[in-house]
Amino acid sequence: MKLHNKDNFSRRNFLKTSALAGGGLLIGFNFLTACKPEATMPVDVTSLNFNDFNAFIRISDEGYVTIFSPNPEIGQGVKTAMPMIIAEELDANWNKVRVEQGALDTKKFTRQVAGGSQSIRQGWDALRQTGATARQMLLNAAATKWNVDVSTLKTSKGIITNANGDEFNYGDVVKEAALLEVPEDVKLKETKDFTIIGKDAINVDIDKIITGKPLFGLDYKADNMMIASVLRPPAFGQKLVDFDDTKAKAVNGVVDVLKFGDKIAVLANSTWSAMKGKKALSANWKSEKPESTKNHDEILTNILDGKKFNTRREDGNVKKAFTDADKVIERTYHAPFLPHNCLEPMNFYADVTADKVHLVGPIQTPQWTVNRVAQLLNRKPETIHCEMTRMGGGFGRRLYGDFALEAAEISDITKQPIKVVFSREDDMTAGTYRPASKYRIKASLKSGKVSGYYLKEAAINGNMYGAITNFFPAGCIPNYKVDTESHASNITTGAWRAPYTNFLAFAEQTFFDELANELGVDTIQLRLDLLQNVKNTTDEKIEYSGQRMEDTIKLVREKANWGNTKEGIYQGFAAYYSHNTHVAEIADISLKDEYPIIEKVTVAVDCGILVNPTGAKNQVEGGVLDGIGHAMYADFSFKDGKPEHKNFDTYRLIRMQEAPKVEVYFVENDKKPTGLGEPGLPPAGGAIANAINAALGQRLYSQPFVKELKKNTVLG
């Protein structure tokens, strides 16, 4: 999460090559660490070994380039962007580049986790270096073949040209290249010479998606596979007492019913039979410490009212700032639990046999899952092979391999290949939820300035990670303090798209809007003034850049015509830094019978070099709409440990008619690419809350907004 990370990438021996049995050159590479001396290259692509290498590039005799990468795709476009970076430095013809998802059973892949928007940022240098080294090998081979000095040769789109204008296709020299030493010092392209990076490339799986080809975990099938539908404790904290499976076993297609832990699995030869069988089970449960949303409300409020906190950052003296203030403002913000609701429900395939385990499915953390399955079944990790499928959404939910562990455990009992399939109800009620939280923010105003700022966080099962305490406004306000405390609950919680900041950004950005009103200054100007204080900071811990944030804010201000909109349009502004990306958003809303209609959101983003502009824009658009949808509508609660919402009839997601137009603009610069999966989301809630206030004079302090608006009778 650090901005000042060191590039510990070593070029030495990170790459090995071999000639393929069927023709062509295979390059295996391993960034971050050197390849093991004993690591051997396969001679055909059916046995790629991702234990010793992160990924492979094959260049065929015809010059086609195939990149075998085990990196999972959850809709972040990484599967397209990573190969673009390699192909750029290789100077390949992008139309001749194909990407294949490799199975992964490695400990070494730098970024096996498709979460945290980090894939591209972490792979950037290494992927470029790999492509450039491969290109140099081909050049060296061509120079030997022509018997000329390598410096006289040029490449473009997969063609090598010499001074006489003779040409080799990359495929023409692969045989020779496979015999040469791997060059040590290669030159990277200047960013201005990029021909693939920065150009639009469409999703590599597009044809399969639009024709309905099998791609996702739920589509995966194997011989003799059974479907398992699992009955889990209906409330958190419950234990299974006993159950009756007579009716379940009478359902056509149900083969077996078995208990594991406090759960019951119904195995059937079709999904429908398994689901029907599960519904026919009856079970008795006993509750231990059931928690309800009402308790959480009290518990979190008590934390905020109390004195027990961990201080996470402290500058100056907030206490004194409050005593000396002209005015002190304090507000409290509340966020509910949220389920992830990936549209593809959780599912996983496992085949546990005497000597090995085969796992297949949509997972963001294959390595962690392999290790946990190894521990659960008392196996060696090397005997477990995990294949990743495309994922129908992630949002953090597929970081947790609970469903894979269930599959492994059931298959271990039955010694049969099985696939656990969640219904939507299972998915929504057996979640790893975004924890409920409350923030209380207090600021002091002195001589027209914000002189002190004190933020308290009370959250379920843990608190914000350290870096967040160094986001805006850290470094901008002389007296500044962040305190946190949490309540341990038996409700499972976890990362949810842009953890913590998905709500914190709303709280802070709407708080600053209120401060600007109080001070009688333009809300954007207030942010810009504050940012001046952090521009020359020597504080190494500060995560964001004052200058980049300022440029981003100015871009959105210009593009959205801030302050100069049409009659009847009300604007709201928010800016936030997360996952190394600076984002500023302005929401335009209108009123229809006193009801706020979100018309448009203008977004400015600084994510460094744009690898794939289309992909980047898509990511940001989705993040903004996701942020709006959850801030406006998403409500989730528990009663006696039981989730009160189970499906989309009572849990509301944003739909087409509620989705405003999103216009995205990028700040152009030469900086390393940064994350895009998350950063569009956090500012969205703040921008619309501030616009709603501009239109209705109504401040919002908790999500979902529709609930608060109703409570305050704006919506009648």
Binding site: E73, I74, G75, D200, I202, N203, D205, I206, D207, I209, I210, T211, G212, K213, P214, L215, F216, L218, D219, K221, I227, N252, G253, S270, T271, W272, S273, M275, N341, C342, L343, E344, P345, R390, M391, G392, G393, G394, F395, S423, R424, T614, G615, N618, Q619, E621, G622, L625, D626, G629, N647, F648, D649, L653, I654, R655, M656, Q657, A659, V662
Partner: protein, 152 residues
Amino acid sequence: MPNYTLNINGTNQSVTTDEDTPLLWVLRDELNLVGTKFGCGIAQCGACTVHLDGTAVRSCQMKVSLLDDVKITTIEGLSEDGKHPVQEAWKEIDVPQCGYCQSGQIMTASAFLNENSNPSEEKIREAMHGNICRCASYNRIEKAVKIAAEKM
């Protein structure tokens, strides 16, 4: 278990299954047509959309026993080569994010455009409102439907 003959993508297919099995699971589990997706099972998300005699319906709600006289079209049979104007527009705009909802979106859009050759923006938004995209690719879906309308 009873036997049913279904006309799917122009061919008759025979399946043996319980009478209450939804078409969705017949397609996915029995016939290996997995392009039709499961999202909610209660007619809320549209991921399972197919055409019955050209009309978009939710296959999770269609019992197999009631489908003997209809022509069923799934995403796999929408076009022979993936070149239906809606599919082409989807590719041109690069609509999908994770992609999971998209076959349902495409089936809803194609049935809608068959009936409405030159739809307004408002009509498009209304027609697509029933299909959830959790990745919120709504802006691009709207654009792609517009482009498809021109191509059709």
